[in-house]
Symmetry: C2
Subunit: 433 residues, 2 copies
């Protein structure tokens, strides 16, 4: 028998092309799909769980395009350091102490935070990815997971290899009723030389997976690429044929006009991570320009060590404000565009447009319900502007992924909150010593 | 008989010069004062209300240096417009319809939001300020209130005059056991010509109030000042003798080196409002430079029409991130400095250092207690970094002003939340027509 949930009489922010906001709408979920959306009273099936929607706003579940979930263990562990000191003296040594259990508990903590904040799909890149997958399986979230690997000696040695990454894909692709998708995670151009990437491309052709990579994050990275290869990282990726595959490129901060052109034409999925880019001193990506060129952009938080939270509402607000402020143009990245990035934009980058990041009949039932009866979400002037400029993760009251309720009114239905706090804290204590 | 509250076994983020963070500290409030802070077990008086502090972080109540509280009615009413169109076609016409009741209910809504978010003192500037004062009196918050006035014809005509502002000061100064302080609010240099400001200065000498004014917010304002007076707004204010009085200057975005020098030397209280400055396309103030020059800086949200919330935690995070990102220096405005701006910095700007914005014996009992048992505030790596880079207004669980609990675990003890939502929504509906 099918399981059914009816959200009754709520404001639906559909993000669908044709509609915008439906006031007093009803939304019926059947199994893992949005079955119907209607405004008039209809007979609803008897065996249905009803969620009263008065004063509530329903949005498509948010899509976090770039994360290192287990790094919640390093949240507020080392801030305000110069970048190289932060990496070499704080993060790399701590990561060298990482165990599989750390990644499991760190990811579990990230899942609590993401689910509670309305994120229903995330893209991850880290070590010991099978532990991340295990945690996701338990949590019930939708995840695109890449076991990171590098092609040079250096930074965090002794960790996962390209072969481990292939094995991870073979073992986990499509697990958990398809909620777990595996992708390929070469770390970055400065840790994966061109010949290595060519080999990676060739040997993974038959897998046809998305590639997830850091790209043009720092000035240093771009300068090194130009020095060594006489090309920007984006131009080099293009020359290597990487963009003939579906790519999600994290950051893309330092871009010239040719880069923007390449990224847009090749439909590269860009994860814009404004918070992390500021915090690490990397700068501000040319988001408005990318949008103007029709680039495929979504939003990401990056890991909690450089953010320090996984609140997608912060990224949504910040991506708009930064463009307005630096372009001295209050019309830049208006509210609806900013919210699109975290929903439809992310779905487009993942090749899932129409299925994720949208409320429409036939789409996956990945939804977040916000309680707007809060001082900062009153009065009722404009729900999308309120979502973008005033809401935060904590306004999310209910989260549904694939038709299952994962979080409701402070209660996690799939994860053991207390245990995760306890274990994650133990892991963090060990790692920071 | 004195009233006593004991916060037991909490993490105290004192922001005091000598201490930093006290783990497992106890804090005793007697009447409206922090009576004692101690770590060892002590005999506590019998007639004391105990607040268990395990897993909680106590901070000095936050100080919002620049607000137009009643503008919550215009939250998400008109976003993403060019500045002049926003003002002349949306805000000014709506403000021309404002009534005293609107200001009362709009302020009440702002009080709910500020109190719930840990703000215990705010500086305001708006019309019908006696209505703001009335709401503050009911809410029990600490407020520095200025009835705005202008010296030119134009923008919102028919509103309050300089004489009204004086009358407001005479009627309200020190009301509500001193929690309501009145200050003088000439709107800005571009609406108050030099001769008018001279008159204002002279005629208010005997009042010895702080002056609250918008200053160097937009490029346009600075260019006009140079065109008309051959001086930047800051240099002009200095020449007029305004800075011989205690001044709180809102914004201070567009400053040259001489301006920074004047502001620092004269100890002008600067309200840095990063969110609003970005949203209206005004840019990013040179915060790090101001700090390096020893300027007296605090933080403000500005009104909700240009933010769109009153969450001081957002300003704290943003002020740090913007400097790191634009200076390409992750060490800029470190966590403790950012948090100082919203506490000690604000107190210093108000001439209340040692009394507000700090947890120390003898200081006012204005406190916020945060619940850190939240996914985004775990693990326990660094409470100040968590406050700055990960917390939000919604993490505040209890708020105490002048020794009285105003908010506790979702419940407002002085304000009627439901009624305020209802009335504010009615006002907003009328105003946007």
């Amino acid at each position: 028998m099918s399981s059914r949930i009816l959200i009754e009489d709520a404001t639906l922010v559909t993000m669908d092309e044709n509609d915008g906001v439906i006031d007093s709408g009803n939304l019926l979920i059947e199994d893992n799909i949005i079955k119907s959306i209607f405004t008039a009273a209809e007979d609803t099936p008897g065996d249905v769980k009803v969620i009263p929607g008065e004063g509530k706003v329903v949005i498509p579940g948010l899509i976090n395009l770039h994360n290192h979930a287990a790094m919640t263990l390093f949240r507020s562990y080392a801030d305000d350091y110069p970048l190289m000191e932060w990496l070499t003296k704080k993060i790399f040594p701590a990561e060298a102490r990482l165990t599989e259990a750390d990644v499991y508990w760190g990811t579990s903590l990230a899942l609590l935070e993401m689910i509670r904040g309305g994120t229903t799909t995330f893209v991850d890149m880290y070590y010991f990815m099978e532990q991340t997958a295990r945690a996701c399986q338990e949590g019930g979230i939708r995840a695109m997971l890449s076991q990171v690997f590098i092609g040079t000696e250096g930074c965090s040695e002794g960790f996962n290899t390209f072969e481990d990454a292939i094995k991870f894909i073979e073992n986990w692709q499509g697990q958990d009723e398809g909620r777990i998708q595996t992708i390929l995670g070469p770390h970055a151009l400065y840790t994966c030389p061109p010949d290595f990437l060519k080999k990676v491309l060739k040997e993974t052709e038959h897998l046809n997976t998305i590639i997830h990579i850091h790209l043009s994050e720092s000035k240093f990275e771009v300068e090194e690429s130009i020095k060594n290869f006489n090309k920007t990282p984006v131009a080099l990726m293009d020359e290597l044929g990487m963009f003939e595959r579906q790519v999600i490129a994290g950051h893309c901060v330092h871009l010239n006009d040719e880069d923007i052109d390449i990224l847009s034409k090749k439909g590269v999925g860009i994860s814009h991570n404004p918070c992390s880019n500021l915090k690490l001193g990397n700068g501000i990506a040319p988001l408005q320009k990318l949008i103007d060129h029709g680039a495929c952009v979504g939003l990401g938080t990056d890991g909690a060590a450089s953010n320090n939270n996984l609140d997608m509402f912060e990224e949504i607000k910040l991506c708009s404000l930064l463009q307005k402020g630096t372009l001295e143009d209050p019309t830049a990245v208006p509210a609806k565009t900013a919210f699109e990035l975290a929903t439809r934009g992310g779905a487009r980058a993942l090749g899932m447009e129409g299925h994720l990041g949208v409320i429409r009949e036939g789409a996956k039932a990945d939804l977040a319900i916000l309680d707007f009866k809060k001082p900062h979400l009153q009065p009722h002037n404009d729900p999308i502007a309120n979502l973008v400029y005033s809401a935060s993760a904590s306004d999310v009251e209910t989260v549904i992924v694939d038709g299952k309720i994962l979080y409701n009114k402070g209660e996690f239905l799939t994860l053991d909150e207390e245990r995760i706090y306890h274990e994650a804290d133990k892991c963090a204590k060990k790692l920071r010593q």
